[in-house]
């Protein structure tokens, strides 16, 4: 009887600790936007300075960010027309916080990588990278932009998320 009680105590303690640990690891509740990702992308793209932007293939996304677009529900990138420009617009719809962290890490690495390339000689590029780049996550979407109109594009992104599909 005592043994049974001891076993009960041990196993339910393990369950309690596991629940606490999982809650600690989780990011809490947030609602996922039901907005159409394509419409969100169009809204953000329309408000950006699109002079230097072109759509990227999955291979380009893999090469520039090291992430596999097929792992995400929606993944789209616009990138610069030439190697001397740094304009980019990335929109990804992720499924969980680990994907979110993956995207954040990839975007930060991309930004830093571009800064390393243009440091000391690309004044215009460095201005965009330092002062006109935004990385944010909201309602299941990750948004990263390097663009003269980054603020307007980010605002359009947020507004688009609030629209129901």
């Amino acid at each position: 009887m005592m043994k049974t009680l001891a076993f009960e105590l041990c196993r339910w303690t393990a369950v309690a600790v596991a629940i606490l640990f999982i809650v600690r690891l989780s990011d809490g509740f947030s609602t996922v936007s039901s907005a159409n990702p394509q419409k969100v992308l169009e809204a953000a793209y329309t408000c950006a300075d699109t002079t230097n932007l072109q759509p990227a293939s999955n291979q380009i996304i893999k090469r520039l960010y090291g992430i596999d677009p097929s792992e995400y529900e929606f993944c789209a990138l616009y990138y610069a027309l030439t190697n001397m420009d740094v304009d980019e617009l990335l929109l990804i719809k992720y499924a969980d916080s680990s994907q979110e962290q993956q995207i954040q890490s990839a975007a930060k690495a991309r930004l830093q990588g571009q800064k390393n390339v243009f440091e000391n000689y690309g004044v215009g590029q460095m201005d965009l990278l330092n002062n006109h780049s935004i990385l944010m996550s909201d309602s299941g979407f990750a948004f990263f932009i390097i663009n003269l109109k980054a603020d307007e594009s980010a605002a359009a992104f947020i507004n688009a998320l609030r629209e129901e599909e």
Partner: protein
Amino acid sequence: MSLSGVFFVFLFFPSSILLYRLIPEKWRNSLLLALSLIFISFGNPADLILIGLSTVFNYFTALEIDGLRSMKREKTKKLVLATGIAVNTALLIFYKYFVFLMSNIGLNVNFGIPAAPVGLSFFTFSAISCLCDVSKGDETPLKNPFDFALFISFFGKLSSGPIVKYRDMARQIKDRTMTATSVESGMKLFLIGLGKKLIISGSLGKFFNAFRTQDISTMSTVTAWLGALFYSLMLYYDFSGYSDMAIGIGRIFGFSFSKNFDHPFISSSMTDFWRRWHISLGAWFRDYIYIPMGGSRVSKSRHILNLSVVWLLTGLWHGANWTFVVWGLYHLVLLLLEKMVFKKILKRIPTIIKTILTFLLTVIGWTIFFSDSLSTAEAYLLRMFGLGGSGLVDSMGKYYLASGGILLFVAMIGATPLLSAIGSKIEKRDSVLVKVSTAVFFALLLLISTAFMISETVSSFLYAQF
């Protein structure tokens, strides 16, 4: 850490074997456990805590069940067993199905769920098998907690199976031997698995990835079938390759795990197919769901219900998407038709026809499996049967037939028992030439696999997503 990665193949694995060989026998289980914990921590260190807590929970639950069974307190024993199964299932549902369930009841909430611990689907099933086997009296619980932890977390089988039942591994944890024969045989199996995964599946995968990027609405019938064939064979070689590697690793350390694939593409019926494909999963569902529900020794309607539950769960086990559910139910329908409607007719059909038909039916099923939504699956299937798209054959179909046809043919031959039968016959000849040729063959296999290993950027094991 991937079993087919450079770090594992050239550093972790050989070091493990060397350490295991050098260490006194009484410390070998502890060494394997330590290596398994290191293996887990290479992915996400948080997994160590969750797998550890799951191990603690199941260890004490198994001990309690055993104690209650010996005291003949059946009702309490069943209650403890039920709560044990419920907790393991809850862990699985939370990580794999919570968001899917919420979105299906109209609640688009994201709990910010962390990534599932490595091998979640596999170790929870192993844990449940332990609780059930101990409850039935088929096995006693492992009293040494480190031995039990090894059963749950052994690196050879943790990340992607096979699903090893408790009764099959418990005795081997307590008593097994590493011999020169087991090391040689295990190493050969590991290398064959590595080659299957990296060389054949990797090559097939490159073709299939090209199909994935195509617009389904403009696909011709031949192109659609080619895509489905590439996927079917790619999945087989990837998963069976990984299973061979896992079984080979186990064999080196003295464990004898049953094979997980037995040339499924020569099956002459769907029943036969499921005795040859992912055998450990089928056996688990048979022993712990189907038979406890009564199996086939019940009324016809109850038999259908039992099969329906098993196939619904089999589909769901593969992932949180309606495509997997439909895929499972697709196989249920085929099995029911085979057992209950066409049984007599099928007996009269030549085996070769039945084999081809079974193969085609499984390929059709895989299109549902690889589609990311039911609408995509529907569109793809329509193209396979000539509805819409670009007619019977287009330039893309011709191109992939020309460039990938030989690979497909070789892969299909390799999926039959022919090559392994030839290999076995050659090995039986006890001559120096055979020994040298065998060594050269496996050295070349390792060399070519290494080249593929290095050339791929990310090639996570396909089934690991399940």
